[in-house]
């Protein structure tokens, strides 16, 4: 019975079975055609970061980092990336559920649409957001005339731009986990008297928590580094819409040293947060 097989596999995944069973290979056991490109790949990823460290203006670093603009930008970045991740969670998890668990005409097409922000140049995404939610946008003009809400040039605008770009990461990650998870757990919950929503909330959600965590981390990281959509949709104003990547880019125009310093801060903070999350979230599931 194939259904049994897949459900077993899913159950294993959920229990973290394969992870524990994974055989660790010693360095000698890795075939050269794999090892060599792997190491080159690693170097390729790390070398630019290393160069950043080597050329960092260590002497002027303390003075660079004590400026209020840096802290403002960093605070704003952390806040808006976290808020954007929250938006992604609230909207993205149900969307992922819809894509993974229901049948409707054109689902494949909708799925492709969801991933569109991944391939769209972020600046274009920003322009698209302006056209939709801007003061004169398709929806934005009503927001303005009915509620007096304008989103561009506001911190909310930053959050929206970041969420727009980061959401596909979350949706794809959660949808993958949902597809791997056994839908029969939801059925089991239903036969015990749970409505579909209760089943989702009390059974599915805890089951896919690792996938949601992984997706959130991805989305958060993407939001933190977001530049194009943010500067296009929300503009650049210190303390309100100037996030770290914007500060870095503008510093690069006339003070590359400051840009490197800012980048180091962003790197250090993201590494610290991601490492912290990994320990707390990814492994205890």
């Amino acid at each position: 019975m194939t259904q049994l097989d897949t459900s077993d596999a899913a159950a294993e995944t959920l229990k973290g079975g394969p992870r524990r069973r994974r055989v660790r290979m010693t360095g000698r056991g890795v075939p050269l055609p794999l090892l060599l490109p792997a190491l080159v790949g690693l170097a390729f990823l790390l070398l630019p970061l290393l160069a950043l460290l080597v050329r960092a203006p260590w002497r002027s670093l303390p003075s660079q980092l004590t400026s209020t603009e840096v802290w403002q930008a960093l605070q704003l970045s952390l806040f808006s990336a976290t808020a954007a991740t929250a938006v992604c969670l609230v909207l993205g998890v149900p969307l992922a559920w819809l894509l993974a668990r229901t049948e409707f005409p054109g689902r494949g097409f909708v799925r492709a649409l969801v991933t569109l922000p991944l391939v769209l140049p972020p600046v274009v995404g920003g322009v698209a957001l302006l056209l939709a939610l801007g003061r004169n946008g398709v929806v934005g003009q009503w927001l303005d005339s009915w509620f007096g809400i304008t989103l561009p040039f506001t911190t909310t605008g930053v959050v929206i731009a970041e969420a727009f770009v980061a959401m596909p990461f979350l949706v794809i990650s959660v949808e993958g986990t949902l597809r791997a998870a056994d839908p029969r757990y939801e059925e089991a919950a239903q036969t015990l008297g749970a409505s579909r929503f209760t089943a989702f909330r009390r059974v599915t959600l805890p089951l896919i928590a690792p996938g949601i965590a992984a997706g959130s981390v991805l989305a958060w990281a993407r939001a933190l580094g977001e530049f194009g959509a943010t500067i296009t949709f929300a503009g650049n104003f210190p303390g309100r819409t100037q996030t770290m990547p914007l500060a870095v880019y503008l510093a690069l125009q006339n003070d590359p040293e400051a840009a490197i310093a800012l980048s180091l801060v962003l790197l250090a903070v993201s590494i610290a947060v991601l490492a912290g999350l990994r320990d707390r979230w990814m492994t205890t599931s």
């Binding site: 459900s7 089991a188 919950a189 036969t191 015990l192 008297g193 749970a194």
Partner: protein, 357 residues
């Protein structure tokens, strides 16, 4: 099962279902009736539609046609969460993130009980299942047998009027299986409403169920009591599948005295109430009482019927011990078997097996 008995079952109590599920290439069309206290086993090869029938009863598959009444109430359009139906799934599907206690408490909680109430109910059920000390355990740390019992407790904790069991013993290894089967049998016997179980294992079906319903390609090919079906298989598949002589009796060491009188010598050394089973192919027939053979497991019978199934002939025997025997066609010819012929049936002790009930 006679027509009058069927008619009695379609009263307001119990299960009265006509399940039609059309999936284009596959069509399930099965009528099922059962009175409260009945245990019905759906038996059939893979892909026959057993599980679909079960899912239709649970509401997880929509009926294309037909009806479903439980204790007189129409359930055709009722969503699964509103049906008084409990399900024990094939691999139990215990929620891996909840403890055994919370798994069992899930149903009562969904039915509106408070957290404390539902936990109290759950604790009671676990206790009844002999799992009180495992209440705090996560499913992954339970053995197969324990998980199965938690699954049964979880299904029963919602007080279903219809209990569905999908291959309840398939996930267990041979040894736990005996134990769990015996326990499950007791729980099913205590269960006051209708139980329907799906299995492909004839022994499970015969031990656990009062009545077998054999499904092939979406339709019922035969139904009746286990012994009935074993002796009069209507298709080759059933003959192969239900090729089992099954009896109940009191064991005293290697000897089992059947409730109807005769004794059977078995391999196992057991005490108390047991089942004894041996396949029809283990039976040897003689026209005359074999000389020199030990008197153990030798019975004088009369041929009640002969049916050809493939290259085998199934002989239905009545007499001292009603049983089914499989012979090859030449062997049957040599014995000149015909209805009413008197024969001696012998079975080696090594081919009989007994199980505690």
């Amino acid at each position: 099962m006679t027509d009058t008995a069927d008619a009695q079952l379609t009263g307001s109590q119990g299960l009265d279902a006509h399940l039609v599920v059309d999936r284009g290439t596959f069509r399930l069309d099965v009528e099922l009736t059962a009175a409260p206290g009945d245990v019905v086993a759906l038996l059939g090869p893979n892909g026959a539609g057993k599980t679909t029938a079960l899912r239709a009863l649970a509401g997880l598959v929509r009926l294309t046609d037909g009806h479903l009444r439980l204790d007189g109430a129409e359930l055709d359009r009722t969503p699964p969460e509103s049906r008084p139906v409990g399900v024990v799934f094939q691999d139990y599907l215990l929620f891996p993130h909840l403890t055994a206690l919370d798994n069992v408490a899930f149903g009562p909680r969904c039915q509106g009980a408070t957290k404390a109430e539902s936990r109290a109910v759950a604790a009671e059920w676990l206790d009844r299942m002999g799992l009180a000390e495992h209440a705090g355990a996560k499913p992954r740390s339970l053995s197969g047998g324990q998980a199965q019992r938690v699954a049964v407790a979880r299904a029963l904790a919602t007080h279903p009027r219809l209990l569905l069991l999908d291959e309840p013993l398939a996930a267990l290894d041979a040894r736990t299986r005996l134990d769990v089967r015996a326990q499950l049998r007791r729980h099913l016997a205590e269960f006051e409403a209708v139980a329907v179980l799906v299995t492909h294992d004839p022994l499970d079906a015969m031990v656990l169920a009062d009545r077998l319903v054999v499904i092939e390609q979406g339709t019922i090919v035969q139904e009746g009591t286990p012994a009935d079906i074993a002796r009069h298989p209507r298709t080759d598949y059933i003959a192969q599948l239900v090729g089992l002589n099954l009896y109940k009796g009191q064991a005293d060491g290697h000897t089992v005295t059947l409730d109807t009188g005769p004794t059977i010598t078995t391999t196992e050394n057991l005490q108390g109430e047991v089942f004894v089973a041996f396949p029809p192919s283990a039976v040897t027939l003689f026209r005359d009482r074999p000389v020199g053979a030990s008197a153990r497991n030798l019975w004088h019978c009369e041929v009640a019927g002969l049916e050809t199934h493939g290259d085998q002939i199934r002989v239905d025997l009545t007499g001292e011990l009603p049983l089914a025997a499989d012979l090859t066609t030449p062997a049957a010819a040599e014995l000149d078997l015909h209805q009413g012929a008197s024969v001696w049936a012998a079975v080696k002790a090594t081919q009989t097996h007994s199980y505690p009930t």
